[in-house]
């Protein structure tokens, strides 16, 4: 195997086991191809070891907690039974107020009933009468 063949195999990515033996033999005699293998093949295949990140500082978890909980103020959770009871109480209270207001208006309307009666004056001519007068006038003129 020469260097060109070696690199062609590396460039293709996945040498099988028989090729791997030949590659090892070639690398033993060729430092340049050994470097090529390390740089082009191992760098990618062992990327998980190369890309190891540095560890976070020990206070990171606590500082994340502080950051999150300070940014989102705590909301007091109201139990469902309290919500239902409050709603029912509001409805009852509303009914009581409505009832009281209705009663007060009803009493006012019975005591002051006369105030709202409008009496028609004697000379008021209603529509039906006007129509009748016009009809009779027409008939007498055409007789």
């Amino acid at each position: 195997m020469n260097c060109n063949e070696f690199r062609l195999i590396i460039d293709q990515g996945q040498p099988d086991s028989t090729m791997a033996t030949m590659l090892q033999q070639h690398m033993a005699d060729c430092p340049q191809c050994s470097l090529y293998y390390k740089m082009v093949f191992e760098t990618i295949e062992k990327a998980d070891q190369l890309l190891i990140s540095e560890e976070p500082s020990t206070d990171l978890a606590a500082s994340i907690g502080d950051f999150v909980f300070n940014a989102v103020p705590e909301v007091r959770v109201v139990p469902m039974w309290v919500k239902i009871t409050t709603a029912a109480a509001a409805v009852v209270f509303g009914l009581l107020i409505g009832s009281a207001v209705y009663q007060s208006r009803t009493v006012n309307s019975t005591t002051n009933n006369d105030l709202f009666v409008a009496e028609a004056p004697a000379d008021t001519i209603y529509m039906a009468e006007t129509t009748e007068i016009m009809y009779l006038s027409f008939m007498s003129e055409n007789e």
Binding site: P31, L35, M39, S53, P56, S57, G65, E74
Partner: protein, 196 residues
């Protein structure tokens, strides 16, 4: 992990979630940004977003995968915001200049390249990949994630993830081979001419 308590907004349960997962979230963010301060900021934002949206989290889903998805999105947002900071370094730029200076002679070639230098070269080569390939490759090399988990994080099918990882490796090999050629090719030529 008591997801029901988390969904109710239980702060003790959420602090427990932070305690047990923050290391992985931080390390993933670091893989994207290569910067401790950025990784720290991203970790905080990830958990803030998670806390605000925890009520929408499905109980049958994997919470760690969910956190990873937020981490990837946050990291990409940061990278996009600071594009000049993250993307301007070419594989042959000054960051690797020390490496170029120490270019080996023919016989000591394989002993010179340290893991630290390989890491720099790999990081820079990763920056040349299309975004989806870079995400898939980084997730593939994080915390032993399976293809299925990567697919869930990226909202892609399994076959798409397989394809992305295959193509990312092929592109990285090409990029690294070019780098080798630019920095060590001359040594090979000298060696060949000396043999002749």
């Amino acid at each position: 992990m008591d997801v029901a308590s988390l969904r109710k907004g239980d702060r003790k349960a959420f602090q427990y979630l932070i305690d047990t997962t923050h290391r992985d979230v931080y390390r993933l963010a670091f893989k994207f940004t290569s910067n401790a301060d950025d990784a720290r900021d991203i970790s905080q934002e990830v958990y803030l977003e998670a806390f605000r949206n925890i009520h929408g989290f499905r109980e049958d889903a994997n919470i760690k995968t969910w956190l990873y998805r937020i981490t990837v999105n946050r990291s990409l947002n940061l990278i996009k915001k600071n594009k000049s900071k993250f993307m301007s370094v070419s594989i042959d730029d000054s960051e690797t200049s020390a490496f170029q200076i120490s270019a080996p002679s023919t016989h000591e070639a394989d002993s010179v390249v340290e893991n630290k230098e390989l890491k720099k070269i790999l990081q820079t080569a990763l920056n040349t990949l299309p975004e989806n390939q870079r995400i898939a490759f980084l997730l593939f090399n994080h915390d032993g994630m399976s293809y299925a988990e990567i697919a869930e994080v990226m909202s892609l099918s399994l076959s798409s993830v397989e394809s992305l990882i295959f193509r990312s490796k092929a592109n990285l090999r090409k990029e690294l081979a070019d780098f080798y050629q630019n920095n060590y090719g001359h040594a090979q030529v000298l060696k060949n001419s000396a043999v002749k």
